[in-house]
Symmetry: C2
DNA sequence: TTGAAAGCGGTACCAG
DNA sequence: CTGGTACCGCTTTCAA
């Protein structure tokens, strides 16, 4: 079904048909009706590709994330999508699963879409990709990678603040043996998080630390906890790089007969909705995902004078204390004895 | 950056440039190199819209879901996306949040994309939309709505089987007061699920039942459980329409000092990954989301003779017993006393 | 092996 | 108020 067929049936030119379909108010009521009639009879739906090509405009936004299975990323996407839908935009997501190759493919595909804006929320960013993106005439928002530049907005999270607050809190509770559970240590931003933890621990006298890394999922968390318990480190507190993994860590702890937080305290990061619902609920650092979605949307659709889009936005996570943390149990826990 | 600019820089025609970029093996190695060189220098990325319009082909699949925040839908999407990525396709999702208006917009937008296939996994489907979709020359897969027709594959879940098995199991455990927690009772498929529960209960002598409805989220589950506890029904078992809500139900029960499953048994539905990780883990009915993603993908890309695509696929959920269910506590539970 | 040119399905400007 | 028409950027014959 094409515009031409609709026009023919309504006995008008494609120009007029186009006007009617785009609500350009100059068409007589009579022809207008004929066109609408024809369009609906033919169940006509304009071809987005032709429309975009010809019009030069594009109402779609893009977003690339590392793991859409992790509610953290999903929430940002949903927030952006809601705003987009309310304002007549659409958003297409691409998931990379932390795979640099998929990221490259995603970036190329996104550039090819000639989007109204692209949000890049990934951990596996490589410098040359940032260059490639920066070279495009495309509004971009980077989350946690890259630096602000022309047409590039940067959202930076003071990740270390959340870690500090967490460690500090656990320290005040008497914890002296802490473990960090992360994932994808090979990727810069993630390795940096682990380093941040270690660095922070260095500021507290008499604290011993270790780290484990697995995959970004509850299952990965479970596996990490398993390794931790197999080793002889016996932490009294486990800090997880995010809530998603913390859920798995807690599960494994309980399966091994350890109580949380009586025997071991656990913290997450992100404050996903689930953090409040799991048992025990998670002590975590809040990252305002909804607000991030808004910032992204505004960066793309805001009407500030061109160029002012170049900015950096800082987010400082707050600690949210819930049930998964408590006083250290220095008596040591007897593994296997609940 | 356009093909023409690349062609110019490489001193060839756009036709040749196009050939090189599409790996059409007839170009001499020398010119081939020049074109590639030029393309990379200019950081050229083909315009997907122009490409699709001109080529008449489309490697993108569409998917419409009711609530991408619910892991059930998300898993199907991810499964489809993985397969797509592996085979050079892309998939665009649209979320409706159970809102019929957003569904209409999504359907229109999807049709306008001239997709290689569209999967519709929603609960708010209206007949006329099915007509509209069926009228398009577009391979479609409906999940739980519509009926098979030309170019339409239908995936139907024997929802009632899962409910029967759940009720039967709880009955054998001595439960005689059961409640059903659902959402969006105004939508056909969802109302039907509630009705299925009630109908099933009818097959078991001496069982009393009630239903509550809230929103599709842990938070909705919590609220539903709250209502249930406020009423004087005092169920010994709560069957939730899905795992996502069950998580909230369990949380509320515990907050009210009730133990699961000692005081109240809870079941979910879907068997999302989380079901295994929450505490207590969920007794639920398994729906093979990964397989559904595969079925969808194959329906769109399979090379069966045209027309054979018209089929109906039946899925019969199996009960998965975990920790959230146990023998009925007929002594009655003292609310507020753990 | 390469180029010219005809579309693909619309939009928007220019006349009438 | 309506029609003619020149593109948008790329793919794909058809000839050379």
């Amino acid at each position: 079904m094409t515009l031409e067929e609709v026009a023919k049936r309504a006995r008008v030119s494609t120009a007029t048909a186009s006007r009617v379909l785009n609500n350009i108010d100059v068409v007589s009521e009579a022809t207008r009706k004929r066109v609408l009639q024809a369009a609906s009879e033919l169940r006509y739906h304009p071809n987005v590709y032709a429309r975009t090509l010809a019009g030069g405009k594009n109402r779609t936004l893009g977003m690339i994330v590392s793991n859409i299975g992790n509610p953290f990323f999903l929430d940002i996407f949903r927030s952006l999508e809601d705003l987009a839908a309310q304002n007549g935009y659409e958003v297409v997501v691409e998931n990379t699963d932390y795979d640099p190759e998929r990221l490259v493919a995603a970036v190329r595909s996104m550039i090819g879409r000639r989007l109204a804006g692209l949000a890049v929320v990934v951990s596996e960013m490589e410098p040359y990709l940032i260059e490639e993106l920066a070279a495009q005439a495309l509004p971009i928002v980077f989350y946690d990678v890259g630096r602000p530049a022309h047409n590039i907005t940067n959202i930076r999270v003071r990740y270390e603040k959340g870690v500090q607050r967490g460690v500090e809190y656990l320290y005040s509770l008497g914890h002296r043996r802490m473990a960090f559970v992360g994932h994808h240590a090979a990727l810069g931003p993630l390795r940096e998080r682990e380093a941040t933890f270690l660095r922070t621990i260095g500021d507290f006298a008499g604290v011993e630390a270790t780290t484990v890394t697995s995959s970004d999922s509850p299952s990965g968390g479970r596996q990490a906890a398993h390794e931790l318990l197999e080793s002889n480190f016996a932490p009294t507190a486990i800090l997880c790089v995010n809530d998603f993994m913390a859920i798995g860590v807690i599960r494994e702890l309980r399966d091994q007969g350890l109580r949380v937080p009586e025997d071991v305290s656990v913290t997450g990061y992100d404050n996903i909705d689930l953090a409040e619902f799991v048992v025990p609920s998670l002590t975590t650092a809040n990252i305002p995902r909804r607000r991030i979605g808004q910032i992204v949307f505004e960066a793309f659709t805001g009407k500030e004078p061109r160029g002012s889009a170049e900015q950096e936005i800082l987010i400082v996570p707050e600690l949210v204390v819930r049930e998964s943390t408590g006083p250290a149990n220095h008596g040591g826990h007897a593994k296997g004895v609940a």
